[in-house]
Amino acid sequence: MGQYTAVNLPFEHNNTGSVMVPPSIKLTDVSLQYNDFTALNNVSFEVNAGQTMALLGHNGAGKSSLIKVILGLISPTVGKAEVMGQSAYTNHQQNCVDIGYLPEDVSFYDKLSGREVLSYFGALKGVNQARIESLIEEFGLGYAQHRQLKTYSKGMKQRLGVAQAILSEPKILLLDEPTVGLDPQASQFLYGKINQLKQSGCAVVISTHELSLVEAHLDIALIMAKGQRRALGSCSELSKASALKITIGFSELSERVKTNAYLQQFYDQGLLQFSAMHKADIIKHLVTQCQIFDFEIKQPRLEDIYHDLMGQSLRSPAEQS
C-alpha cells in the first residue's frame, strides 16, 4: 500500500472546486518587540498579486521593520507573516527567490561597474546573462555599463537598484524610498516600470514619503504611526475615514444653491463642502434639481488625507473625541 505524506499546500479550494490563490503578502496581528521598544503593534493587511500598496508613515513609524518582517529577516514576536501562503520567516530561503527588494539609499559597490553589480546579484539568484543584458538596455544603462559605480549619478544608481530588484522577475517587489533624490523624469520612468510589473501580476509595496508621486500608482495605502496601523485602504476609502471634505465649485454657485435646501446645508465659503458619504446625493441634486452639469469635484489629495489622519493619530483621544 502506498504511503501518503501530508503536505501543507499554500493554495485553498473554494466550494466550486477552483483554486484560490493566497494573497502575495498577508500579515495577521503582527507585533514586533525589541526589549522595551514596540516596533510593530498588531498590524494586519493583505496585498494581492497585481496590487500596489504604499507604505506611509513618519520616520520610526515601523515601515522598515515591516519590510524586514515580510522579507523573513525578523520573526514577529506575535502574529503571522505569510508570503505566497507560506511563513515569511521559516520559508525565508525559498521566498527570497520570489521577492525583489531595493533598500533605502543603497550605495552598492563603488569600485564595480554597473554590469558587474547586476552580474553579481544575478549570479546569486541564478539569473542568466541574457536577462542581465536585457535589463541593462531596458533601464538605459547600456552606455555606462562598464563604468565604475562611483561615476554614476543618483538617478543611474537608483535605476540600477530597481533593475537589481527585478532581476529574477519577482512575484513580490519591495521598494524602500525608490524615488528619493530623483528628478521628475527619472521618478516617472521608475513608476512606469513598476506599473509594468504590476500588470504582469507582481505585488508591489512602496515605502515612501513622496505622497504626491505615489498617489497615482497605488491601489491601497497603509498608514503607520508608532508601529500601529493608522489606516488602510484605497485613496477613496482613506478619504472617507478622514475628516476631509470633498469640494464642488462652479460659477454662480451661491445663486443656484439658494433654491435648494438640501444643498444649502453644505454651502460654505463659496463652495459645496461635504464628506464622501454625501457625494452621490449631492451630485444627484445638482444634476436633477439644479440642472447643473458642468462642475469641478476636488477630492482630498493623499497628502491631505495623510496629514489629516496623522494629525488625528498624534492628537490625544480626548482631543479627537
Partner: protein
C-alpha cells in the same frame, strides 16, 4: 566577468571580494609591500653587519618572521575591517540577506575571498623572493629553501586568517567603519606589541610561576606568539637571537602548534558565525 559561470554562492561572494581588493589596489599595494620587505630582508639584511651576503636559511626565516609578525596582522586587518560594517553602512548587507543565501555562506564567501587575496599577495611576493634566492644563492640547498618558504607562507597565511576572523568579529560588532578600524588597531597593538612584550618579559625574568606550563599557555593564548614559536621551532630556534630563542623552548612540537593555530581559527570562525547569526538588522 566570469561570475555568471559560478554556481556556488560562496564562490560568487569570494570572487566579488577578490574583484574589490583588486580594484581598490589593496592587492597590488600589499603585494608590493611584502615583496619589498622580503627582498630587503633577503638581499640587504646583512648590511647592518657591515658586509653584503645572502643569509643562511634559518637566519633568513627568523628575520622574515620577526618582521612579518607585525606586518601580516596589519595587512589582514586593513583587508577585512569593513567586511560587514562597510556592507551594513552601504545597505548591501540587508540586500544580501534578502537573497537566497545563508549567513554562513556569506561569512565563508568573504573568508574565502579574503584568504585568496592574502595568499596571492604573500605567495607572489615571497615566491619571487624564493625564486631569486634560488637563482642567485648558490650555497642554498634547493629543497631546504623551498620547504622553509612553504612553511613560512603557510604559517603567515594562518596568522592572517586569524586576524581576518578577528576583523570580522569587530566589523560585525561595530556600527561605523571608523570605529571598526580603531578597535582593530587597538587589538593589533595589544596582540602584536603589548602581549608579546609581556610574554618576553616573563620569559627572561626569573618569576617563580613562570614554569613551562605557564609559558606554553601564554604562547597558546596569542596567535602572534604561536606564529613566532612555529617559525622558531621550524628553524630549530638556533638562529633566533636573545629572548626569542626562549619562545622556541616550548616543549610542543610543530604539529601541536599548528593544531593550536587551527583551534584559534576554528574558535574565531564559530564566534564570527554566532555573532552574525544573532546580529540585529
Amino acid at each position: 566577468m566570469y561570475i555568471n559561470k559560478l554556481t556556488s554562492p560562496i564562490l560568487i561572494i569570494a570572487y566579488k571580494e577578490i574583484c574589490d581588493s583588486s580594484r581598490n589596489r589593496w592587492l597590488a599595494f600589499m603585494g608590493s609591500m611584502f615583496l619589498l620587505l622580503s627582498l630587503s630582508v633577503s638581499f640587504a639584511g646583512s648590511a647592518v653587519t657591515g658586509s653584503l651576503y645572502l643569509p643562511e636559511i634559518d637566519a633568513l626565516m627568523s628575520s622574515l618572521s620577526t618582521i612579518s609578525v607585525f606586518i601580516i596582522p596589519l595587512a589582514a586587518i586593513l583587508l577585512s575591517y569593513d567586511a560587514f560594517v562597510g556592507e551594513d553602512e552601504s545597505g548591501t548587507l540587508l540586500l544580501l540577506l534578502s537573497y537566497p543565501l545563508t549567513r554562513m555562506q556569506i561569512l565563508f564567501g568573504k573568508l574565502l575571498g579574503h584568504m585568496t587575496v592574502m595568499l596571492l599577495a604573500t605567495g607572489v611576493a615571497f615566491g619571487i623572493t624564493a625564486v631569486l634566492l634560488l637563482l642567485l644563492g648558490e650555497h642554498y640547498h634547493k629543497a631546504d629553501l623551498i620547504s622553509a618558504f612553504v612553511q613560512f607562507l603557510v604559517s603567515s597565511n594562518l596568522l592572517a586568517l586569524t586576524f581576518i576572523l578577528i576583523s570580522y568579529i569587530v566589523s560585525l560588532k561595530s556600527t561605523e567603519k571608523a570605529k571598526a578600524i580603531g578597535g582593530l588597531l587597538l587589538v593589533w597593538f595589544l596582540f602584536v606589541l603589548i602581549y608579546d612584550l609581556i610574554l618576553l618579559t616573563i620569559l627572561v625574568s626569573d618569576f617563580s610561576f613562570a614554569n613551562q606550563y605557564v609559558i606554553n599557555a601564554l604562547i597558546a593564548m596569542s596567535p602572534t606568539d604561536l606564529y613566532r614559536a612555529i617559525n622558531l621551532v621550524a628553524i630549530d630556534g638556533n638562529s633566533a637571537s636573545g629572548s626569542l630563542t626562549m619562545l622556541a623552548s616550548s616543549d610542543w612540537g610543530l604539529a601541536s602548534m599548528y593544531a593550536l593555530l587551527f583551534a584559534w581559527i576554528g574558535t574565531l570562525t564559530a564566534i564570527s558565525h554566532r555573532i552574525f547569526k544573532h546580529k540585529p538588522l
